[in-house]
Amino acid sequence: MTKPPVEPPGEGDAPDTTGNAVPEPEGAAAASPEPAASSPDAGPVTERAEVRAEKEALQEVAGTGTAPQPDQTVAVEAPPVERERPWAVRFLRYLVTANSVMVTIYSLILAMVIGGVLIVVSDEEIRGMYTYFFSRPGDALSASWTAISDAYSALFQGAIVDFTQLELAFQGQVDWTKLLRPISDTLTNAAPLIFTGLAVALAFRSGLFNIGAQGQAIAGAIGAAVVGFGLDLPLGIHVIATLLGGALAGAIWGAIPGVLKARTGAHEVITSIMLNYIAAYGLLWVISTAFVHSTERTDAISKSVDNTSWLPSLFLNANLRANWGILVAIAAAGVIGWLLSRSTLGFRMRTVGANPDAARTAGMSVASTYATAMACAGALAGLGGATIMLSSTSHALTPAVVGNIGFDGITVALLGRARPVGVVMAGLLFGAMQAGGVRMQSVADIPVDMVTVLQALIVIFIAAPALVKAIFRLRPSRGAGLDLTMAKGW
């Protein structure tokens, strides 16, 4: 069972033994008799048209609540008609269909709207204006509009491009450093998020909910820092050793909940959260030890890592923070994509994730798969911690060095629907929002916590596509949902 034919991971994951009886409609999958021989659930691997259609029908019902949608028949009949229509009609139809892209976009819009309401409600001055709303509605409305548009404009300009710099550039005074700074910040923020997002996503696919990415990232930051200033290695090798140190520390930390779950059945959600707190206190202790603590400063900061272990700058410009971390993150996403869809281990993980009982029946060791998956996830989160530590200005451990990347990683994984490509895009989006959030705080005086609120709202809407569909009256579609069902019990 080496390389099962690839299919979009996640959609067909649920092992579906009934699928075996259905004759193969496409020749493409015929080249894979091995999976069927080694496991009874070849269903996930060789996707059959009928099974898929049936499953989607089921999903449709599940996604829309208890009652079957009355317009479901339209959806079934629609495809043949659609092919005849001009592209504009098809495009418009695409816009009002609840497919995964549009649900994501609509979720973003909804989150931004709610965020806007929050901005207005929390502004004392504007609240005052609403007290005399009926005599002069213009005041309140224009003030609200200004507050919201200022905030979101700052968010955008801090993340993508600064308008004033762009104007200057058009006038011929291009200052590359300033023009690229927002993008650079976005990429810098995105790299650790992609790592932790992958850490959560990989665990999701193995049927585990890894809330422990935070602790694993802390462990990774510690591991990387110790290698970074503790070892004396030549340029090039030192960077790799530092990252590996982070990955190893993260893997060890991540393996604990996996082993506990495998051996005692303790739910990984609780154990990994507790390990987050333990790691946070452990970081405080590590920083305070004589070996790690900075020799020059008295506050809680470690020694800086040697500059041979720094990640090379991406834009070859010392004033821009972006470094190769983002490239490593994207490479890691590629590796995870390969791992999940092409490797034996990935197949085992997905099978265990979809149905541990079936996996056990097929002779797979569920316990060792849990442990391996959590260790891999921990290694990824550890890389995230290492990257964020190496991207910090001090290149050292501080009590808040990893920020909140572990928890943000959960939202990244959910938004990316636990697929590597999705995680990279979601990581870039949330990285951009965080970069913009900093500017939003300084320019528009909106606390950065706004970004957390937006992230959470987006993910809530993504997780409930039926809700988005109902709000925007979208046409039903297939596969828009967050097809992640884990943790069916404690």
Partner: protein, 426 residues
């Protein structure tokens, strides 16, 4: 289901081999006993462990020779461990565990306070433990209500946070702790409403949903804290304190009297709620329906119980209780709201729920255990002369205890069968 299946496998292995739970536990306790003996050797000769017990108006000092006490307790630990390893220990696991761990903890405490000028105020420690256990009790009760009806509620942490925030805000604005309490409860209920609608109506995965709701609550309270409270703390964030109530007569009982009957109103509320939920769950039609829906919704449905309605109602009621638990963080002791001030207590409440086996009484006992650990940790790290262990490790203590409790001590737990499984009428 997944987890339970794994648990069964682990269990069956354990029973057939030499490495039964009892043997493993016994060896652990022997090891702990040896560590305790090492503690004993480290105690300065002639040092006393002083306990002060509040006894009707004055402190009674109990002085024990520290080294001897530590050795005696360590001996108990080793003996219990040995008993558990031997064939005699088959049925004694629970009791033995309790004795061994208590002995080890006491040995550690004696070792830590065996210094001149240091004493352990027993009554105050018990009071503090109960105080710290209160939000855990309330959070775990919320979990009991939700999960007994088949909805996993991981959002207790979020409910705590919004409860604490709203309690502080409304309590300050109205200058009334009671108004703050009610507002906090309603805020917790609001998160419960989100949970219920999304989990029951829109069938979102409940664990994922809970975690994301926590994030939402964290972001929301953090955002509003900075936007509203930070600029005018006097005006918006100086909550009043919900008063104490000294029960006449009962509070005069030595030792436990002041700890139990001279307390914050929250304490009485929590204890009353434990009793109410217990009776309601196991001795009323309400509880029967709840449990039926949590165990076998299809069967409950077939006899006319409205499954999703029962779940909806329970999640909302749970939200109210968790909101009260949250309000306790601020108006329970007139502490201003701060970002992420609940530091994972909601998750510990979840662990308490599991350790307490989805039972209100069990949750109460579990919460007291955690409260005690937390109080001990606070006492030891703020002790004059400092603790022999770095304070960061002491701070980890409640979390480590949680992991051990969930992973090992409780043995096999069984969640309600339909916990976390949405009910779709077919």
């Amino acid at each position: 289901m997944t987890t339970l299946a794994t648990a069964e496998v682990a269990e069956s292995k354990a029973v057939h081999g030499f490495w039964t739970r009892s043997v493993k536990g016994g060896l652990t306790y022997i090891a702990l006993g040896l560590i305790a003996i090492w503690f004993g050797t480290r105690v300065e000769s002639g040092a006393n462990a002083v306990f002060k017990i509040f006894w009707t108006g004055e402190d009674i000092e109990v002085k024990l020779p520290a080294a001897a006490t530590v050795f005696a307790l360590a001996g108990i630990c080793v003996i219990v461990g040995a008993l558990l390893v031997s064939p005699l220990g088959a049925g004694m696991f629970t009791g033995g565990t309790a004795i061994a761990l208590t002995a080890f903890t006491l040995a550690f405490v004696c070792f830590s306070i065996a210094k001149p000028g240091v004493f352990l105020p027993v009554t105050a420690t018990m009071q503090g433990a109960l105080f710290l256990a209160l939000p855990l009790i309330l959070g775990a009760l919320c979990g009991v209500l939700c999960e007994r009806s088949g909805v996993i509620n991981v959002a207790i942490e979020g409910q705590f946070l919004v409860g604490a925030f709203t309690g502080a805000l409304i309590g300050t604005l109205t200058a009334s702790a009671w108004a703050g309490l009610i507002a906090g409860a309603l805020a917790g209920c609001l998160i419960g409403l989100f949970l219920a609608v999304l989990a029951i109506r829109y069938l979102v995965d409940q664990v994922v949903l809970g975690v994301v709701l926590n994030l939402l609550a964290l972001g929301l309270t953090g955002f509003l804290y900075e936007r509203i409270m930070q600029q005018a703390a006097e005006q918006y964030n100086s909550p009043p304190r919900l008063g104490d109530w000294t029960v006449p007569l009962l509070s005069d009982i030595p030792v436990i009297g002041p700890a139990l009957f001279d307390q914050n109103i929250f304490t009485y509320m929590a204890v009353a709620l434990v009793a109410i939920v217990y009776v309601a769950l196991f001795h009323t039609p309400f509880g029967l329906r709840t449990r039926a829906v949590g165990e076998h919704p299809a069967a409950a449905d077939s006899v006319g119980v409205r499954v999703n309605w029962v779940r909806f109602r329970n999640v909302l009621m749970g939200g109210l209780i968790a909101g009260v638990g949250g309000a306790f963080f601020t108006i329970g002791s007139a502490i201003a709201f701060n970002k992420n001030m609940t530091v994972g207590k909601g998750f510990i409440a979840l662990a308490v729920l599991i350790v307490g086996r989805w039972n209100p009484i069990g949750a109460l006992l579990g919460a007291l255990l955690f409260g005690f650990t937390d109080q001990l940790q606070i006492f030891l790290s703020s002790m004059p002369g400092g603790s022999p262990i770095p304070s960061q490790f002491l701070s980890m203590l409640p979390y480590i205890v949680t992991i051990f409790a969930v992973a090992g001590l409780v043995g096999k737990v069984r969640a309600p069968a339909a916990d976390g499984v949405p009910y779709v009428k077919s």
